[in-house]
């Protein structure tokens, strides 16, 4: 990862989105301090290095907080919004789907998948399979 040039084209944001389009959820890891980073950066926010490489995220995470955005059924109905701590460390905002939105709980294990919102590929989560 030491030859990664975060100031070249395409930049980290474009690389992340291209990977997501092709079905892979990648996060960055700093070659200098080892920190995992999300969202994509040009400079490591933990140590200032530009030696940033890509790793495929495990997709495993834990719900850090959660809310239900209440909305009339005719406007699409209620949906979940949550913060997920990935097992690699970074936290991201997302939705837990395929579960009633008010049954999502802080501390629940979740698994990422790539879905779509507003015709944009995004990382979403489902509750992890028990056991």
């Amino acid at each position: 990862m030491s030859d990664n040039r975060t100031f070249d084209s395409p930049g980290p944001d474009a690389i992340y989105r291209a990977a997501l389009e092709s079905g892979t959820f990648q996060i960055q890891q700093c070659g200098s301090c080892g920190a995992h980073i999300f969202y994509p950066r040009a400079i490591c926010p933990a140590c200032g290095s530009t030696d940033l490489g890509w790793v495929t995220a495990s997709g495993k995470g834990t719900v850090y907080s959660t809310t239900v955005v209440r909305q009339k059924p005719e406007r699409g109905g209620d949906y979940n919004i949550c913060l997920v701590d990935l097992e690699e460390g970074p936290r991201l905002i997302s939705r837990v789907v395929d579960t009633p939105p008010d049954e999502v709980r802080i501390g629940q294990p979740v698994e990422a998948f790539i879905g779509e919102l507003d015709e944009e590929k995004v990382v979403l989560f489902r509750l992890a399979e028990a056991g």
């Binding site: 944001d13 969202y39 850090y64 907080s65 959660t66 809310t67 239900v68 955005v69 209440r70 949906y79 919004i81 949550c82 913060l83 936290r91 991201l92 905002i93 997302s94 939705r95 008010d102 802080i106 501390g107 919102l117 507003d118 944009e120 995004v122």
Partner: protein
């Protein structure tokens, strides 16, 4: 050695518009009314102003627009936007500009028609798309603050009723303020049973959406005695920032008040016990609980119980948001300057039926973004300098 900004500047003019619905008026007209009020209060006109501090969500060139509109010829101008705390940070910027002689009369002004203005030319303009966040539809800012409340409840057992008691305390203060929009009695059950917006917040956990404006005039303290009203001196100020997007906030139960407030207290050379009255940016009920904890008025996690005890309500030992706050007095998109306005009225002894007897020192806490930026300012009467 005392900090060079301690007591170096003072607010000598305050202007407020009516609050609520101001139909068929532009945000500049509302701002101009507040600015004119503040300058008249100080015996000045726009022609005396050479430092201009403004901001809103809609206008990237607001400082130029405002200077032109008011006929001000500024040597210093600043329209930085760090969210609703901006106007408290403007107090810091104005103090620096005044103390260094870059300007002599600083005007900090805000006006908005958030309620009645629709989308045109007011503060509910585009916030800019935040990558990695907006696509999920978090209904910002409400969703972000709701997740902070949910986390606080999870970690510390903070209850639905404790959140509601923040809103009922603010309402009890608002009942004493003839300017406040919402003065009808309100109970904890009213708050808890209102329409759910983003769990755990009902609509009554959320601030108002108002039309309104405020403005203050600041000068160096050496000439602060030359104006009609008693000066309100800036004793200390501290800025703290943790994040922009809520997913980047390190701990949703600890705000940047924990970073900025100690700097403000150090500059002011006072302790918590010296504070007579506090004005917080209570965009949502969880704010007040977080700020009480992060200022050290109770241990982390005990803010809910502190509020539920009645401490911040009329008659309590820690009066907070004596005007009724953003929850019950006024909230025109960005509330920061209204915390300063209420501190000025309290320290001048002009707060009528809500006056804290003998108030000498007031603390303001501006909040911005999604709990992102926090600015703590400490003001005092002439006796405290």
């Amino acid at each position: 050695m005392a900090h060079m900004l301690r007591g170096a500047t003072a607010i000598v003019g305050l202007g407020l518009t009516e609050f609520g619905t101001l139909p068929e008026r532009s945000h500049l007209e509302v701002m101009a009314e507040a600015a004119h009020g503040a300058l008249s209060d100080a015996g000045l006109t726009v022609k005396d102003v050479d430092g201009l501090f403004v901001s809103n969500f809609a206008s990237p060139f607001l400082a130029l627009q405002t200077a032109e509109y008011l006929g001000i010829d500024p040597t210093v101008l600043d329209s930085t936007n760090i969210g609703g705390s901006t106007f408290v940070s403007h107090v810091q910027a104005a103090a620096m500009a005044l103390a260094t002689g870059l300007c002599n009369v600083a005007l900090i002004a805000y006006g908005s028609t958030s309620r009645s203005g629709g989308r045109a030319g007011q503060t509910r303009g585009p916030l800019g798309r935040v990558p990695y966040e907006d696509v999920y539809g978090p209904r910002n800012p409400i969703g972000s603050y709701a997740m902070a409340a949910a986390r606080h409840m999870h970690e510390f057992g903070t209850t639905r009723e404790q959140l509601a008691s923040v809103a009922t305390s603010a309402r009890a203060w608002a009942a004493k303020n003839r300017r406040a929009e919402m003065r009808e009695p309100m109970t904890v059950d009213d708050v808890a049973n209102a329409r759910m917006i983003c769990d755990p917040f009902t609509v009554l956990d959320c601030c108002l959406v108002s039309d309104g404006g405020a403005a203050v005039v600041m000068v160096r303290s050496e000439r602060a005695g030359d104006f009609p009203k008693p000066p309100v001196h800036l004793l200390g100020i501290g800025v703290g920032v943790t994040h922009d997007q809520i997913a980047q906030m390190p701990d949703l139960t600890v705000t940047a008040v924990a970073k900025g407030a100690p700097r403000a207290f150090e500059m002011a050379e006072i302790s918590r016990d010296d504070i007579d009255v506090m004005e917080f940016y209570d965009a949502f009920t969880i704010n007040t609980i977080l700020f009480l904890e992060d200022l050290g008025f109770c241990a982390k996690g005990e803010g809910g119980a502190l509020v539920e005890s009645g401490a911040i309500a009329p008659g309590g030992h820690l009066p907070v948001n004596t005007n009724g706050g953003g929850l019950s007095c006024v909230h025109p998109g960005m509330y920061g300057l209204f915390t300063v306005a209420e501190a000025v009225e309290q320290l001048r002894g002009e707060a009528e039926g809500r006056q804290i007897d003998g108030a000498e020192i007031a603390l303001c806490n501006g909040n911005g973004g999604k709990l992102s930026s926090q600015v703590t300012a400490i003001f005092g009467t002439g006796a405290t300098v």
